[in-house]
């Protein structure tokens, strides 16, 4: 037991005395997340749009000048080529749109805005049609009124000269029914409701859970792995092996020593995300903290395991493209439902996959403990498996005892 704490204390001292590592462990994830926040968290930018042939069009009101610059066809063409605008709308009939097209995200923005305007164009069309209908009905009503006048006069004449015939006609005339009052159709519009989140959820809120996992994992992986690797390369591991310390005490000593910094790091990172970057979070801070913490342990145990297979720091860093990058892509940052089955299976083997799922449940869906215990358990299992393999692997360094 005291060996365990001696190990842990030594690691804590080592990190505390190595300011650079300490800074990397604690500050670097904050810095990078802030950067990511600026990139994805900013309100989506406005598309630059123009219209041509607006004067002669009835639809000009659907394209307010605040959103669409008025241009001549020639100007618009030039501006598009110079990437000054993302698209322009030609209001001649039929209406057509010209996109710049080189950047899918800008295309999307432009089309979004233009589609909204096109809805207004539809409305304008509909009002125009109903106005036309009204005026047709009105002229017809006038014509009917004129005829009724004539009829009245004819009736008066008949009354005077042939009352019998009149009575006959009135008897045969169909009963007058009042025309049904015209009903205006209900206004058709879309009412949005969100099961989770709301319409102010931006890309960062959605990416955040995955990002936290990726960066926590990355930094713990690098620092933990290199630190254990040094133990091997400087020969201190041999010295430990020639002492009565037990294998599990070495590995658990690492877990506990780093664990302390992992707690601090998780705490700072989570508070920073929630309170400073204001990431969308409906769950409890404690739940988030737990997941970040559990994930860090799987990163640490995995890094110790892989450091066994590395001969030097460079080789340790060569694991990053192998271990971290696939996790970035398969972690849930991008949808993977459509990928081949075997790729999805690989995704299921990745710790960050589970932390992302758990953090999304906590922060966006607000499902509480019920939403994360399973993912948390899988992460704990990862750690247990890695730690066990570590303890077995280290036995090879002490073949006799």
């Amino acid at each position: 037991m005291s060996n365990l704490f001696a190990m842990a204390r030594r690691i804590i001292r080592q990190i505390l005395r190595d300011r650079r590592t300490l800074a990397l462990l604690i500050m670097a994830p904050l810095l990078i997340l802030t950067l990511v926040w600026f990139i994805f968290g900013a309100k989506t930018s406005e598309p630059n749009l123009a219209v041509i042939n607006a004067q002669s069009s009835d639809f000009a009101s659907a394209f307010p000048t605040s959103q669409y610059t008025r241009m001549s066809p020639l100007e618009a063409h030039q501006a598009l080529a110079d990437k000054k605008i993302d698209a322009y709308v030609d209001l001649s009939t039929p209406v057509n749109v010209h996109l710049e097209g080189s950047d899918p995200s800008r295309n999307g923005l432009a089309m979004n805005r233009i589609q909204k305007s096109m809805q207004k164009v539809q409305q304008i069309n509909v009002t125009k049609m109903s106005n036309q209908l009204k005026s047709i009905i009105q002229t017809q009503q006038k014509a009917i009124q004129g005829q009724q006048q004539v009829m009245k006069k004819m009736m008066a004449a008949l009354h005077l000269y042939a009352p019998g015939t009149l009575a006959q006609i009135q008897k045969q005339a169909p009963k007058q029914t009042r025309p049904a009052a015209m009903q205006t159709p209900e206004k058709v519009s879309l009412d949005l409701s969100y099961l989770h989140g709301n319409n102010s959820l931006n890309t960062f809120d959605a990416f955040g859970p995955a990002m936290v996992g990726i960066f926590v994992f990355l930094f713990i992986f690098m620092i933990g792995g290199v630190s254990f690797l040094r133990e091997r390369t400087t020969g201190t591991l041999d010295r430990l092996m020639a002492s009565p310390i037990k294998n599990y005490q070495i590995i658990w000593g690492y877990m506990i020593g780093f664990g302390l910094f992992v707690i601090v790091q998780s705490f700072i990172l989570t508070c920073y995300l929630v309170y400073v970057l204001n990431i969308y979070n409906v769950g409890s801070l404690f739940d988030v903290l737990m997941i970040v913490f559990i994930l860090s342990f799987s990163a640490l145990s995995l890094s110790i395991l892989l450091s066994t297979a590395a001969k030097n720091e460079l080789q340790m860093f060569q694991f990053i493209p192998l271990v971290i990058v696939p996790q970035v892509f398969l972690s849930g940052l991008f949808p993977i439902d459509t990928l081949p089955k075997w790729v999805q299976v690989i995704g299921d083997l990745m710790p960050i996959h589970y932390s992302t799922e758990a953090l999304r449940n906590i922060m966006i869906r607000g499902t509480g403990f019920a939403g994360w215990w399973l993912d948390g358990l899988v992460l704990v299992l990862f750690s247990v498996v890695f730690i066990t393999i570590n303890i077995i692997a280290i036995r090879r360094s002490r073949p006799l005892a």
Partner: protein
């Protein structure tokens, strides 16, 4: 007389290279055994096999007359050829750590740290970070770490390499003092004047233990002036 280390018919191969070929070596209690031989002869490999850090392909090792156990390491001090120190820590923190994992604590631990620091002449440098140590200082600190728990058996791989003659003399005085208290020691070395200070020496050449005995006895047996000449005689005989 008991034998703290006994290695019998040790054979070791790295890939295709035979590094130890049927080496048997027994240490008597209370002696300083010098293991000498040219670079690459297999000295470090032999020491590591005796310690159990490396597994021999065949042959047996006994520590304290039984199969090695974790407990044997309590009475064993090992100093590797590399310094094996934690560079981020101070000298004191290094010794403190090695003392702790050897089961020392409290006042006893503090007292031992000061004692070993003094015996290697580093008592004034204890607060310094090891990263700022010179090569010789690191070597001495590494030695101090091997002494900290007062083991009965020492395996020291080139303990005096890179040290100046004065300190080297002090360290050999220390070794003799430890021996006088009953410790057994196996020391590898390149320095020939140290050979004469050993009770017995073993000459390792190309994975073979070509000669073994007290330095005086060896020079007499082969009729040469110094122990290193024995290598020349032996190699000459082989040709």
């Amino acid at each position: 007389m008991s034998h703290p280390i006994k290695g019998e018919h040790l054979y070791k191969k790295f890939k295709k290279q035979v590094v130890l070929d049927d080496v048997s070596l027994t240490l008597n209690e209370g002696e300083i055994y010098g293991l000498i031989g040219p670079s690459g002869a297999g000295k470090t490999t032999l020491v590591r096999i005796l310690l159990g850090l490396e597994k021999a392909d065949s042959g047996d090792v006994e520590l304290f007359e039984q199969r090695p156990t974790l407990d044997a390491f309590r009475s064993l001090g090992y100093m590797a050829q590399s310094d094996a120190l934690y560079n981020e820590l101070t000298a004191y923190q290094n010794l403190e750590f090695f003392a702790s994992i050897q089961g020392l604590h409290g006042n006893r631990k503090r007292q031992r740290i000061m004692e070993v620091a003094e015996s290697v002449g580093l008592e004034k440098e204890m607060k310094k970070g090891v990263a700022q140590f010179s090569g010789g200082m690191r070597r001495r600190l590494s030695l101090a770490a091997a002494l900290i728990h007062e083991p009965r058996l020492y395996l020291l791989d080139e303990p005096t390499v890179g040290l100046d003659p004065l300190i080297r003399r002090d360290i050999w005085t220390l070794f003799r003092f430890l021996r006088s208290k009953g410790a057994t020691m196996i020391v590898t070395t390149h320095v020939m004047d140290e050979v004469a200070k050993c009770d017995r020496v073993g000459l390792l050449s190309d994975g073979h233990l070509i000669a073994e005995g007290a330095p005086k006895e060896l020079t007499e047996r082969y009729g040469v002036a110094t122990v290193e000449d024995v290598f020349l005689v032996k190699e000459g005989a082989a040709k």
